[in-house]
Amino acid sequence: MRWGLDGVTVRFGSRVALADVTVPAEPSAVTVVVGGDGAGKSTCLRSLVGLVRPDEGRVSRPPKTRIGYVPATGGLYPDLTVAENLAFAVSSYGVRGADVGAMLDRIGLAGARDRLGGRLSGGMQRKLSVGLALIHGPDLLVLDEPTTGVDPVSRMELWRLVSGAAAGGTAVVVATTYVNEAERGTRAVLLDDGRVLADGSAADIAAGVPGAVGRRRARDGVSPGGEWWRRGAGWRVWSPSGDLPEGTEAVRPDLHDAAIVAALAAERGTGGRSAGAKEE
């Protein structure tokens, strides 16, 4: 592994924010860290860029000037225009040959170059902050929830920036709350309550579900045995032993099923923690 977190544990007082978490960051690859609010995604990313010191484990990263980092909020100067934000980033990184005009085109904000950063829509702000993190051509790009709450058009554009950076050789680590965005990565790490629930490519995670997953129509309801959850109007059930309750049809689990099964398995492993127990 070139860079990343290796068996990292982070404690804030008595609370364990990360427990033995490994997140690889390889050149030309995109690692997607997926989890809900409070899962530990931000702590992961902050450990990776050096803002949090782990209590255990190892972190490797390129020199600070070779990292581009966008926190979950902010990451730009609201009182500067779009072009001024980029020009300021160029001068503060001391990069030679950085082309503000080319970056404006790349992030799709050429038409908004003279607007104040603070006056942009949410999606445009995210694109600008990613542009600021990319302007010096970093070796490692770390983005904390760039697509949360962003509309689908900006979301596609943001992912194109991510893929473009990786295609150019950058190692990218992206945090998201959307499970389906795990498919965007060469690798995904599913986090919950500071622990890794599953990791690997999206296809590997889906293929690695233990036991069996089945489905049943809404009107047939649930029956004893297995763990049930809703999928659209119908039901899904997971049987750890592989024996599905009668009247269910076996399905090949997809990433969504896999993420839910991983969380259910972790709950069982910790003695049936109540749903969304008191975390961060």
């Binding site: 809900g36 959307y178 999206a202 969304g276 961060e280």
Partner: protein, 302 residues
């Protein structure tokens, strides 16, 4: 019908936010309203709730004109949840219960572990469950939910959907406004709004229709990505597999372009996903109604 929009249009000065929209939400249904920012979703919701009068057409809630009275039977959960963050879960619950004349009821059993916690200190997943429980407490006939599961982990989201589905199975209608595709995929029917118009509607499979994308596999995906990007294709990488939102007829062009650059590629026609279909609908809608404002990467019709 619980909620109905008939040819509803809303104009603000010279700007038309909603154009001749027809929409229904019936009992037991979970209906999704999907659109980009500025598509008119919020304006339409405000009309249905009776907060805004349409410039043309009409809105009906439970068969009547939306009013304070009909609004009592609506459970609305905004994205900001509408809870008091400096009150405890129990205090939020009692406050809402007394406002709806149902004082004295207890916090639902599954939320009692957090009864004495300040709402501001709860995880987002639990806070969303509290907000939904509060909305549910006055037994509304229609729920209007804005991104009800966003920010919540997969299992937490599944449990929220369980509660939403249970309400629907007991006869309520549910209208979910979202631009989260995972939420859209949970709905029975979708309305896709583009620039104030409903440009597509139906179950997820119907909205996707026969749209396709080209899937490109290549050992050197980075080079292939850059080549396609340089040629103006709105290519998307899913790991090392590339997806290009163009019609099947472009397959030879894409293959030729990459082979010409010395790459060994496999190009297949694949069904589009909901997000890809959404982008195509958006592109088609803009091209049809505003040819000058149309964006690249739109049309992916089979």
């Amino acid at each position: 019908m619980l909620a109905q929009a008939q040819e509803v249009s809303v104009r603000f000065g010279s700007f038309t936010a909603v154009r001749a929209v027809n929409m229904t939400v019936g009992p037991g249904e979970v209906v999704g309203l999907l659109g980009a920012n500025g598509a008119g979703k919020t304006t339409l919701i405000r009309v249905l709730l009776g907060l805004l009068r349409p410039s043309a057409g009409r809105a009906r809630l439970f068969g009547a004109r939306p009013s304070l009275e009909t609004r009592r039977s609506v459970g609305y959960v905004p994205q900001t949840l509408g809870l008091y963050s400096d009150l405890t879960v129990r205090e939020n619950w009692s406050f809402a219960a007394s406002a709806f004349g149902r004082a004295g009821t207890r916090v639902p059993a599954d939320l009692r572990p957090w009864e004495d916690d300040l709402v501001g200190g709860l995880s987002l997943g639990v806070a969303r469950r509290v907000a939904f429980a509060v909305a549910l407490s006055h037994e509304p006939k229609l729920f209007v939910l804005d991104e009800p599961t966003s920010g919540v982990g997969p299992l937490g989201a599944a449990r929220l959907w369980q509660e939403i589905r249970q309400a629907a199975e007991q006869g309520a209608g549910v209208l979910v406004t979202t631009h989260n595709m995972e939420e859209a995929e949970q709905c029975d029917r979708l309305y896709v709004m583009v620039a104030g118009r409903v440009e597509a509607e139906g179950a997820v499979a119907e909205v996707i229709g026969d749209r396709t994308v080209l899937e490109v596999r290549c050992a050197d995906w980075m080079r292939a990505y850059q080549a396609l990007d340089d040629h103006g294709f709105a290519v998307q990488a899913h790991g090392s597999v590339l997806r290009v939102p163009v019609p099947p007829g472009e397959r030879d062009t894409v293959t030729g372009l990459l082979e010409h650059a010395g790459m060994d590629v496999t190009v297949r026609v694949r069904p589009a996903g909901l997000e890809e279909a959404f982008m195509a609908i958006l592109g088609d809608g803009r091209a049809a109604h505003d040819p000058h404002g149309a964006q690249a990467g739109g049309s992916a019709h089979a």
